[in-house]
């Protein structure tokens, strides 16, 4: 099956600022993919590249096997909801649905009407007067009713209050179940995505730090705790993501690259998603190690 998103050495530069560096990804179909990273990590850049709003500086990107926004057919296959869920303030909710119906050959009007009723939007209301949550619901309806194969959301819940966040994500999951689409959504808060996504990409400092199916990632990551010095050198077949030392004890967050860690370290414990992601973000946030820095992976707490 064609991957929904495939990038090869993808890079994007704005003037002198490198927004995305050497991103190589392949995301399988039928996943709900969470794209996590701090503000300014390059999440929007990646999603805008995937929707064809901008063109890459280096490397290539393919969405559902074609160049993003290559033609009307390709546009029909991807639904993109941009950051801050833009809508036309002077057009009513009903006008937006008419816009969708006229500009999308595959428009599912029954679905659109049903969603609008379900979330309680008044078709005669001007979109400029909707609350943030209602606007997000309208944008979601518009993107979903064109019946795309891939739905992309850029920070859909960033501007919403906690209740609206939950409602929105719930609607989203209902859609996914009903329409069998792949979904790619970003957030700077892992908590927003934790419950909905089954594939994760961690982006920080313009590079991918981690990418994979959530279950596989959780299976491969461990916390090792031992007296100081016992883990020096660390056991073979692992990658140390983060090392924390106190006076008497060493804690390592590691990735088991061979699947054999438990055999020689039965005490190794699994992490939850947040701990794992934080370890990667912590590593990305460190200053680039210089040649004479003794232990580049060390974080002292």
């Amino acid at each position: 099956m064609t991957p929904v998103l495939r990038t090869d050495a993808l890079g994007k530069r704005y003037g002198r600022r490198q927004a995305l560096t050497n991103v190589t990804l392949s995301i399988p179909a039928r996943r709900v993919v969470g794209l996590v990273g701090p503000n300014g990590a390059g999440k929007s850049t990646l999603l805008n590249l995937a929707s064809g709003m901008i063109a890459p500086t280096t490397g290539t990107i393919e969405v559902l096997g074609s160049r993003p926004a290559a033609d009307a057919t390709q546009l029909a296959r991807v639904g993109f909801v941009a950051q801050d869920t833009p809508v036309y303030p002077n057009l009513s909710v009903g006008d937006h649905l008419r816009l969708g119906a006229r500009l999308n050959p595959g428009w599912d009007d029954r679905l659109a009407q049903q969603r609008i009723n379900q979330v309680g939007l008044d078709p005669t209301q001007k979109a400029g007067r909707l609350s943030g949550g209602q606007r997000a619901q309208l944008a979601l309806t518009l993107a979903a009713a064109k019946r795309p194969e891939l739905l992309i959301f850029d920070e859909p819940v960033a501007a919403l209050d906690p209740l609206a966040r939950r409602t929105f994500l719930q609607s989203l999951m209902e859609f996914v179940a009903e329409l069998e689409v792949s979904v790619l959504l970003s957030s700077h808060l892992l908590g927003d995505l934790e419950r909905v996504c089954d594939h994760l990409i961690v982006l920080a400092a313009s590079r991918t730090q981690l990418a994979g199916d959530v279950e596989e990632l959780l299976t491969a990551h461990y916390r090792l705790v031992a007296a100081r010095g016992d883990l020096d050198p660390p056991p073979p077949g692992i990658e140390v993501i983060q090392a924390t030392h106190t006076a008497r004890q060493t804690t390592l967050i590691v990735r088991d690259t061979t699947g054999t860690l438990r055999d020689h370290m039965p005490a190794a414990e699994h992490l939850d998603l947040e701990e794992m992601v934080l370890a990667y973000l912590g590593r990305a946030a460190e200053p680039v190690p210089t040649a004479n820095a003794g232990q580049p992976l060390e974080v002292s707490r």
Binding site: Y14, A72, L75
Partner: protein
Amino acid sequence: MIWLTWRQFRGQALVAVAVLATLATYLVVLGLRIRTAYEVNVDCAGCSVETAKDVFENAYFTPLLLTGFLVVLVPGIVGAFWGAPLLAREFEAGTHRLVWNQSISRTRWLAVKLGLVTLAGATLTGALSLLLTWAASPYDKLFDGRFDPLLFPARNIAPLGYAVFAVVAGVTVGLLVRRTVPAMAILLAGFVLLQILVPTMVRPHLQPAVTETVAWTAANARGLMINGTGEVRTENFAVPGAWVLTSNPQMFDAAGNPATQEQIESCPHSEPSVHKACIETKGFHMTLSYQPADRYWTFQWLEFGFYLVLAGLLAGFAFWRIPRGLN
């Protein structure tokens, strides 16, 4: 897409229709009055053309000049208020990110928006220009000054070229600047600059001018000027219906020598018409460059075409730019 363009544009279109209706009423009334005045003052037995010109100038010079300005201004306004915000407002509000993700290519989106708004701008301007051309035609016939820089751009098809150019330029500037108010300002400044540069630096050279020696006649000369070095020049010599490019040409006598103050003063000071008639008998002549009257339509088409080519270049750039995304 046509529906969406209309839905976004209909407010402005209604304003335009209201403005057009008001101005059209005014121009029709003005045109009928000018026709009545023409019958009374020109098409009558024993009427003097000079008197008729005075009557017409007093009554209709100002209204025709001001409506003429309006006909040139409307394309600028249309470019600034319809063209410049067409894309810039989408970028400012971020709604391009909504519409660019519907199942329609950006090229088609731009083509429909640009096409319809350009058509609306050209229709509005064209209607006004044709109404004014009709209303002013007896006046223009009487004064025979169709090439006048104040009349030429406000008659016939030249304003259509301005309208097409202004809308396309507004859209292109909006695409580059991506902000509505600066785009409007840049468009207006550019439009005004062209309206000054084209009549002074481009239009006279669109066709090689005719350069000829013509005899000095009392009917075509407004007056004489004698400067400090004793050169005699004629003030604003007119060739009927033509666009004279030489202002104040120097006069020469029948023998080909520069006319002198003494030759002029040999005619006794009296009534201006008698004085002029006396000077005419001396056989002065001068060298003039001018665009003949029968080139009027050539120049109208050239002016229209010049702006259309500019618009085409800008539109070509916009259509090249838009599929490449915003980088």
